[in-house]
Symmetry: C2
Subunit: 267 residues, 2 copies
DNA sequence: CAGTGGTCTAGACCACGCT
DNA sequence: GCGTGGTCTAGACCACTGT
């Protein structure tokens, strides 16, 4: 007794067969008929059940992968991706950092909560280079293009899994000869704002620009990003009293692991 | 005389051929050898130049499409996607709205700048329905699940192109019998905050949660989103004096057309 | 070992854009 | 009409996962 389909495929329809099959499976996923972790029919089963070729079966799963609904595992099958709870990053983390700086709070606590995250197991890959500022970075830092900046590359880990990568730029003349330019001093208790404080810089305003895009192959590899998952990127500037700019950061986060929370006070 | 490749493909390499070809083309795009709008080799040309099958050539372009680097156009070719300038949405749009409300500024101007956007040619698709609140919406509005809410579906257009879609939820008992529940009164000068003001509600705080994901097929169709382009989603709550919640919104925007700007004052 | 997904080939027909 | 990408087939070999 073969499998009976309530929803059958119409080869004469305008809608491509692989899309029709994808529609059926997508509906099962969205309706909760199958849930995170469940295995979907193998490609061979799809061929038999819907009377299609292997290529069409693979095209179907390719669609669902690019929608971020499933993960393929070689030798095992195609699995419904489970929607893990995303880590929330609150915009008031900066205000909290200011409070700790002012009240001499425990800097170590401050650090392990950097980026608003409790990093369970913490690690930091770092590369520091002095380079001429690109046009973009120069604009953000209000410098002439080509001015030397210290580029600091970070990869943040939690539970031995890479979670976030970023590049931070500081004007080279601001940090030259100070402990800030030495990677050995990372991780720095209290983070960037504490570092800037030792240089006599008070951060009074922060500007963040949030974008999203598909990751580059390099980002996919470094952050272990699944197919069909975009990245959130945050471009950040720290300002001292509305004018000079002290740091520019480009933060890249897998979008299935992070939510950015912002609170806007209007009173 | 056939095409000569500086970078040749190694069929014996561990890296799949279609990835190696994609690497070559990706490099050309990222290095600016080809720029936005330029046509890439046709699939047939790729077959000849790299000595691969049509399937492999198509796989190559499928990779670049999913990375958001190119667009395929039936009957024409594969084209490098041009990075148009994204529309910036500033977080101080709410504060500006408050100012206008307080000073009786021109409400029409206020409206055409809703969402912080100057909609050049403006249109609005709308559907209003009273429905029981889902668990998520109930939590956001601090209501019991199942309580009636007014769900308002919007699609915003600029220059006849769909730019943004959103669902806004208001407690049904708050708006029952008021002009707010009548879709005919949309677009409402001054937007949601002006509407709430007529109900005696003062918005003192707004919370926004930003996420990114791949669009659903419905969103791709409605917003005319290209392959390989994620959406930014904003979940918004408006609060009156830190406690009651007055509106919850789910806004969906194509990530290649929008940047979200937030300014955080620490002084 | 059998079953799974990953890669790759050769070939076919179609819909669409342009000239 | 010709070249383009879109869909679909049948078949092959490989790498990986499980028993």
């Amino acid at each position: 007794m073969g499998t009976v389909h309530v929803v059958s495929i119409d080869p004469t329809s305008d809608r491509p067969v692989y899309q029709q099959v994808a529609d059926v499976l997508r509906r099962r996923i969205l309706d909760g008929v199958v849930v995170g972790g469940d295995r979907l029919p193998s490609e061979t089963e799809l061929m038999q059940e819907f009377q299609v070729s292997r290529t069409t079966a693979r095209l179907t799963y390719s669609v669902l992968r690019s929608e971020g609904l499933i993960d393929a595992q070689r030798g095992r099958g195609n699995f419904v991706r489970d929607r893990r709870d995303a880590q929330r990053i609150a915009s008031d983390r900066y205000r909290q950092a200011v409070e700790r700086l002012r009240h001499d709070g425990d800097p170590q606590t401050a650090f392990t909560r950097d980026q608003g995250i409790d990093w369970s197991a913490y690690r930091l890959d770092k590369e520091f280079h002095v380079v001429p500022a690109t046009a973009d970075v120069a604009t953000l830092l209000d410098l002439d293009a080509g001015t030397d900046v210290l580029a600091r590359h970070f990869v943040f880990y939690a539970a031995d899994q890479p979670q976030q990568m970023s590049v931070s730029y500081l004007p080279a003349d601001l940090v030259k000869g100070t402990p800030v330019e030495d990677p050995a001093n990372e991780p720095w208790p209290g983070g960037t704002m504490a570092q800037l404080a030792t240089l006599g810089v008070e951060v009074t305003r922060i500007e963040e620009s949030v974008r999203a895009r598909m990751p580059t192959p390099d980002e996919r590899r470094t952050l272990q990003i699944a197919q069909g998952v975009p990245v959130l990127t945050v471009t950040r500037r720290m300002l001292d009293h509305d004018r000079p700019v002290e740091a520019a950061v480009d933060i890249v986060m897998p979008a299935d692991r992070f939510v950015l929370d912002y609170s806007l006070d209007l009173s």
